[in-house]
Symmetry: C2
Subunit: 250 residues, 2 copies
DNA sequence: AAGTGTATTTTTGTATACAAAAAGGGGCGA
DNA sequence: TCGCCCCTTTTTGTATACAAAAATACACTT
């Protein structure tokens, strides 16, 4: 999937004067903008419900609305943003049933993949995973919640890639992104995403090729993460009336 | 070409609220166009490799290229069409490894869902499924291959919906669409998609709430479908050199 | 006659302009 | 003073215009 590295060594640095005009040809630029917005959402810099006005984004990234719309549409298909017909784009606020579905899907897919991962994993993969788990633990130790959440998602996504199945890896990637959103809405401040040494322990099982154990562990792990959420049907916590009566009356 | 004839058939009643398009407002119109193209691909009216030029589609559907591009982008994200940077859109030609991945994913997800479906299914659902299975068998009997393929995909998609998990249902929908493409490339003319009475038998298991049996049956069913394919790494049939040396580096 | 380089034509990529709809604000009337 | 309606402003939806790149055709050279 990393075809974007083909032209990384672009010899001619476009010496475009104006500070606004950035370099990089269109496709890569769009990809970068997509990732910037996506990351901001996953890291909870943009919270669910936040409005994403096309003009504002176009100005921030110095492109026209056309490109922004394309990116917004892609994010909408990945369920990270919600596109309301004449109302524009906003960061998706997952419903309780969506949260249930996402975690049920992760239970099925991520657990089902553990045996494959245990069979295919290489020592380098183990090293990478260990490093990711450590970075995540460090972030948690420093109470960098956003960073920890992102790293946790990245860990699970990496596991998906290690399955060797691109279709499933893509699906897992999407599920992990949505999980970040779910955490933003239903997350308990006291109980962060994937806590403790779960990820380290999981790598241990995988390293020893114990697929069945890894699967069971992942099952428990995901169950714990979901149980730590305060998933209530109605958001009684901080219901801003604008959302309910202004926009939500659809 | 005469571009001025875009709206020749437009009754043009700008009386009030000026309907944006002909019938149905913009969003529904786009949805209809999306479905038309999507169906054409799934039914093998548009074969893998077929070019989808924006201008041509825009003229056919009497909309501007803007809307077509949006639809094409969505189809690309669903992997039904491939968007090559300065080359435009074409119906995706699945590779052998993609075919493997898609069927492995279906094995995991569709089979894993059978217990849930068996638990949740209602008599009306059973009736619907039976009817779909019958329509498919009829189409097969009349050698309407395209129609049978589409109905088979619809059957599996319906099963996904019956799981009650929207996230998984969407994923299955995508996998089934891609399976149609795979069938178009690697399908054996003699051995059509889901043959015999498999679907009927499956409904029987589900109706009786035998989730485990349904799961095992689905496993065998998907294995048979995949086994009926002639998945070879290289397409020996019509290897156009443009594909191999021009684009096909991957 | 074959191959290569160039010009034309087609086709995509991007920005901008224009129109419709919704949100917000202010004025008018009761 | 409060409530309702209209007008302005903001924001999205769509089409079109223009530019860049690729495909194609053609001519010229060897």
């Amino acid at each position: 999937m990393d075809k974007l590295h083909d032209k990384e060594s672009q010899p001619s640095a476009p010496a475009r004067g104006g500070g606004a005009g950035k370099n990089g040809d269109g496709a890569e630029r769009h990809e970068a903008i997509y990732r910037a917005i996506s990351d901001a959402i996953i890291e909870h810099q943009l919270l669910p419900g936040a409005r994403l006005r096309e003009d504002a984004l176009a100005e921030v990234f110095s492109v026209s609305r056309t490109g922004i719309r394309k990116i917004l549409q892609r994010l909408a298909l990945e369920q990270l943003v919600t596109l309301t017909p004449r109302r524009g784009a906003s960061v998706t606020r997952p419903t309780a049933s969506e949260a249930r579905d996402v975690f049920a899907a992760r239970q099925l897919v991520e657990c089902g993949l553990m045996p494959d991962v245990a069979r295919r994993i290489t020592p380098e993969d183990v090293r990478d995973l260990r490093q990711m788990a450590r970075a995540e633990r460090d972030a948690l130790g420093r109470s960098e919640k956003s960073r920890a959440i992102k790293l946790s998602a990245a860990f699970h996504e990496r596991l998906g890639e290690l399955s060797g199945n691109a279709a499933l890896a893509g699906f897992i990637r999407q599920l992990c992104s949505r999980s970040s959103l779910i955490l933003a809405v239903y997350g308990n401040t006291g109980h962060l995403g994937c806590e403790s040494h779960d990820h380290d322990d999981l790598v241990g099982y995988l390293e020893r090729g114990e697929g069945t154990n890894a699967k069971a562990f992942m099952q428990r792990h995901l169950r714990e993460v979901e149980a730590s959420l305060a998933v209530v049907e109605e958001q009684a916590g901080a219901p801003d009336l604008h959302q309910i009566f202004g926009l939500g009356g659809h």
